[in-house]
């Protein structure tokens, strides 16, 4: 199994270093949920809600946002240039060291 390290900073500012498998088709929303971090993932990962909104803090080159993701971020609050939906960040080997900050719930 190939693993990478990912850092998730929760809404209280606490940093969680997580081991993330890259061969299980997982995304950041699912990783946070499996680590029992407070990420809702209401729609299950279809980019149809914005409950896994997070800010990407490291300078990893992520794939461009899809229209669906852009549209959903329209309905989120506290959106910035760093905003992404966690469910659209698919865990892959080149994301080793990724750091994200959970967006406020709103």
């Amino acid at each position: 199994m190939s693993m990478i390290k990912v850092t998730v900073i929760d809404r209280e500012g606490t940093s969680h270093e997580l081991d993330a498998p890259t061969d299980m088709g997982m995304n950041m929303m699912e990783l946070c949920k499996s680590a029992e971090l407070p990420v809702e993932g209401t729609c299950g990962g279809m980019a149809m809600c914005a409950s896994c909104h997070m800010y990407v803090k490291s300078d990893h080159a992520l794939p461009e946002k899809s229209n669906d993701e852009e549209d959903m971020l329209d309905e989120a609050f506290h959106v910035s240039e760093e905003s992404r939906l966690g469910c659209q960040i698919h865990l892959a080997d080149d994301l080793d060291g990724l750091t994200v900050h959970l967006a406020p719930v709103g």
Partner: protein
């Protein structure tokens, strides 16, 4: 007063299938849902998405699943109270629950089945500190009656179809002034609505502010001004009578949180013997419940509904014996 045997809160897949299973035991059902249409998440969030884990359906669209569940429930003539949120419950002197909705509709039943999924869908509210001060005095999250805005100045926020459609509608001789504020340059609504809004802006019939966001509300007794933050131009002030932020819906557990049920992490704890809660006569099935090993799958909700109605039957008719009858042998005889 609406009287039934099982009062189902939530008209999603799980609630709808309960009608069928209860019907086989000659129990009548009535469903309450905060949304205006049955189907829950399947109809509201992802009607056009395929589901692949419904037994015997290699693939079925969520909206189609709802249609089929409605068809399956139909012989048992379920009642519906839609667009109303289940608000309060009390017991009467005959040990029946009296449930009152947000609009005051009263329902009476010996059994309540909470099939509320993620909770009730409520408008997403922008995180502005004093916003709630203006909720009855100029800030509305849903447009109920467009006449309410006649000859008024209205600001609408959002980039989806409802924001575009209402902008177009209110600009057509209803409101005295319409401003649409949207965070991005692009809109995600239908192309022809987007074009129409662009045309209206060009003709000077509406004011269009893109790359902008409402960040503040102010006024004395009634909303008077909005503070808008524009990406290039910085902060500006808009005079208005109304602000309608349209940012979609998000689910909240809602009033059932106050029904003295044991709740863990926004879910209702149940006994897996029959999916009963800690309150006798109230059951919880589907995504809203939790127990060791819980999986939030439609498939599992169907199973829970089936076992739950057996227990409900025994509660309503403690002296009657229940024999499992197969539909293949007996068919389905409706009411």
């Amino acid at each position: 007063m609406i009287q039934t045997d099982i009062l189902i809160i939530g008209a999603g897949p799980c609630g709808l299938f309960t009608v069928f299973e209860a019907g086989l035991l000659k129990l009548r059902c009535h469903l309450i849902d905060a949304l205006p249409q049955p189907g829950g998440q399947c109809a509201e969030i992802y009607p056009k998405k395929p589901i692949y884990d419904i037994p015997a359906y290699p693939s079925i669209l969520a909206g189609e699943l709802v249609d089929r569940l409605m068809e399956q429930a139909e012989p048992f003539q379920p009642g519906f109270t839609l667009g109303e949120r289940a608000e309060t419950i009390e017991k009467d002197d005959e040990d029946q629950f009296i449930l009152t909705t947000s609009r005051g509709t009263k329902h009476r039943a010996p059994i309540i089945a909470i099939a509320g999924g993620l909770g009730c869908f409520e408008p997403r509210k922008p995180p502005i500190e004093n916003l709630s001060n203006f909720e009855d005095t100029g800030v509305e999250y849903i447009i109920k009656d467009p006449e309410f805005y006649r000859d008024k100045k209205v600001v609408i926020s959002g980039g989806g179809d409802s924001a575009l459609d209402w902008t177009i509608f209110l600009a057509d001789g209803v409101a005295s002034e319409v401003t649409l504020v949207h965070r991005r340059e692009g809109f995600r609504g239908h192309l022809d609505s987007v074009q129409k809004v662009m045309d209206l802006a060009e003709q000077g019939k509406i004011k269009l502010l893109t790359n902008a966001e409402v960040v503040g509300v102010d006024g004395d007794d009634h909303l008077q001004t909005l503070t808008v933050n524009h990406k290039q131009q910085g902060e500006m002030t808009l005079d208005t009578d109304h602000w309608v932020p349209l940012f979609g819906l998000s689910p909240k557990l809602g009033p059932i949180a106050d029904w003295n049920l044991n709740i863990t992490k926004n879910a209702v704890e149940v006994d897996t013997v029959d999916y009963s809660t800690n309150v006798p006569g109230i059951y919880a099935i589907g995504d809203i419940n939790t127990y060791p090993g819980k999986l939030k799958l439609i498939l599992c909700g169907f199973h829970e509904a089936t076992l739950m109605v057996q227990s409900a039957f025994k509660r309503i008719y403690p002296d009657k014996n229940l024999v499992l009858k197969y539909t293949t042998v007996n068919g389905v005889s409706g009411f």
